[in-house]
């Protein structure tokens, strides 16, 4: 048996924990650079605020009650997420962090001591008392069914946030699946659910009745696994250690539009530096470096331009200099004057755990001497907290900062920002 615990309106709830004055207020959290709404409290949902509404639109709207907006405070969310994780680990033998606000639990055999749903309620109470956050718990013989149960526990308030679909009660499972649209199934993409709908498969129950071989032929093995999982056959196991990263992306929206080549070069150079640093944290080498730039799709009277180019290296590298050089080459392929760029980013792909590769007799590019040592010194200085060194390609401006005008304090990670209580 698996359980999926997910925190209700996670980001918005984190903001409320340390703000007793916001207990019953409508709270929304905005994406990076205060772009659009990415989390809403129950009260905000009730006001009809939709996910993804751009902040400038929301600002202009009138609501019956005040809406409090926050910039995303990832320091706080990560800290609270870890706390939720620790609470779950105190009660369950094995826990997998699936995302910042969702955790899968291995609950095999727990029903020998306690009823599954009683256990779910216990989890809920435990997390609530220690963190102030409310979780929903869905349980099922497979991860997909646990996710479906969790979906249903949110959809119908009478479950009180806890629902177990057990093998012994297949009828209940089928009843629930008959009410779940295919697009709500775990891992279901929009394109595939549309194709399924066109074939007359509208609910999870209908999909579970489909022939797995037929599904694999017409779709893919991933969807076949989903069909099997909906029928109670566990195909996806618990992953306690996250698999090594296969890709590193470093991208950001600009605080103000970029129109000159030099400014763009500096921005891309900075992302390349950051991406290379992340790569070394992962102890990986990469061979494939891609750069993308785009203008705003929302801008009126401006042509939308978005493009991407990539460079493939002969030898895997983790040297910032190689990554910057490749990124600059890629940027030169896609740069066009005359656009007002809103976003740029860099992607590293094709990882290997070592820098070893077959050298070519006629290779012009030779491995750099003492690259490892240099990067070690570089990272050492930058992580010391005493000061930063960077490549001149980034320009002399200090590091570009995300726009977070409505940022709440880092209540749990910074001494100067911990909450206050008045002595009276």
């Amino acid at each position: 048996m698996f359980a999926l615990a997910d925190v209700n309106s996670f980001y918005a709830s984190c903001e409320k924990v340390f703000r007793p004055d916001l207990r019953s207020k409508a709270v929304v959290v905005l994406s990076n650079n205060d772009g659009c709404v990415i989390a809403r409290s129950q009260e905000a949902k009730r006001l009809g605020i939709k996910m993804g509404v751009p902040w400038f639109q929301l600002k202009a709207m009138q609501f019956a009650e005040p809406v409090i907006s926050f910039s995303s405070n990832y320091e706080l969310y990560a800290s609270m997420s870890n706390r939720v994780m620790s609470h779950l680990e105190e009660l369950a033998p094995r826990v997998e962090q699936y995302s910042i606000d969702e955790m899968f639990l291995d609950i095999r055999g727990i029903d020998n001591c306690i009823d599954f749903e009683d256990f779910g309620r216990k989890l809920r109470k435990h997390v609530k008392s220690g963190t102030g956050l409310t979780i929903g718990v869905g349980m099922g013989p497979t991860k997909t069914l646990a996710k479906s149960a969790q979906w249903a526990s949110k959809e119908w308030p009478q479950f009180g946030g806890v629902l177990a679909l057990t093998q012994g009660n297949r009828q209940r499972t089928e009843k629930m699946l008959s009410l779940q649209p295919v697009e709500e199934i775990w891992g279901m993409g929009r394109r595939i659910s549309k194709k399924l709908n066109a074939m007359g498969i509208l609910t999870a129950l209908q999909l579970s009745h489909a022939n797995p071989t037929f599904i694999r032929k017409n779709f893919n093995v991933v969807l076949e696994r989903t069909v099997r999982e909906l029928n109670g056959e566990s195909c996806i196991s618990l992953e306690e250690a996250p698999p090594p990263k296969q890709q590193i992306v470093c991208s950001r929206s600009f605080w103000e539009r970029i129109t000159t080549y030099d400014a763009m070069r500096q921005a891309v150079c900075q992302y390349a530096e950051r991406a290379a640093e992340k790569l070394r944290e992962e102890r990986q080498y990469c061979r494939h470096i891609a750069v993308f730039i785009k203008s705003s799709p929302f801008a009126i009277n401006e042509p939308y331009y978005s493009n991407m180019a990539s460079e493939k290296l002969h030898t895997p590298t983790k040297d910032t200099r190689d990554i910057i050089a490749a990124a600059m080459k890629a940027l030169d392929c896609i740069w066009q004057d005359g656009h007002r760029y809103a976003k740029a980013g860099i992607m590293l792909n094709d990882f290997t755990p070592t820098g070893v590769s077959q050298l070519n007799l006629f290779d012009e590019v030779q491995p750099r001497v003492h690259s490892e040592e240099l990067m070690k010194v570089l990272d050492g200085i930058n992580q010391s907290g005493l000061g930063k060194v960077w490549f001149a390609g980034r320009g002399i401006a200090p590091e570009w900062k995300m726009k977070r005008e409505m940022l709440s304090p880092a209540y749990t990670t910074c001494w100067d920002e911990i909450p206050h209580a008045r002595i009276t």
């Binding site: 916001l22 105190e90 435990h126 008392s129 220690g130 963190t131 102030g132 909450p419 009276t424």
Partner: protein
Amino acid sequence: MLRLILVASDPSKILLPLFTESCPAGFPSPAQDYVEAELDLNEYCISRPSSTFFVRALGNSMTDIGLHSGDLMIVDKAERPKHGDIVIAEIEGEFTVKRLLLTPRPALQAMNPAFPTLYPIPEQLEIFGVVTAFVHKTRGGE
């Protein structure tokens, strides 16, 4: 007659242990076998790290228990509040430090005679957590 002498197919090996510990020339420390972990203040003050939060006290001092403005309070959110506990209570949208009394009826007692004791409706009484310890620095900073 030529006799072919084969090299031993399995030459015997002698494995010598490698001592990674360095061997100082001087007299070894007599205390080496008795080294233990240093005392950790976190361990002393915090029993449940995942539900413990730090909160700064501000305002008038609670002189009778020695809590002063600027002190750091260690607050356990999972602790069940008991009669006589110092708690962080939510009053009018603000965190406040009070002493919780459960008998004869739930009350939040102010430490300072200038403030009245509050008698909240039990269902509306929101306790953020129990203050399990506080740290008062005697020099510098705050």
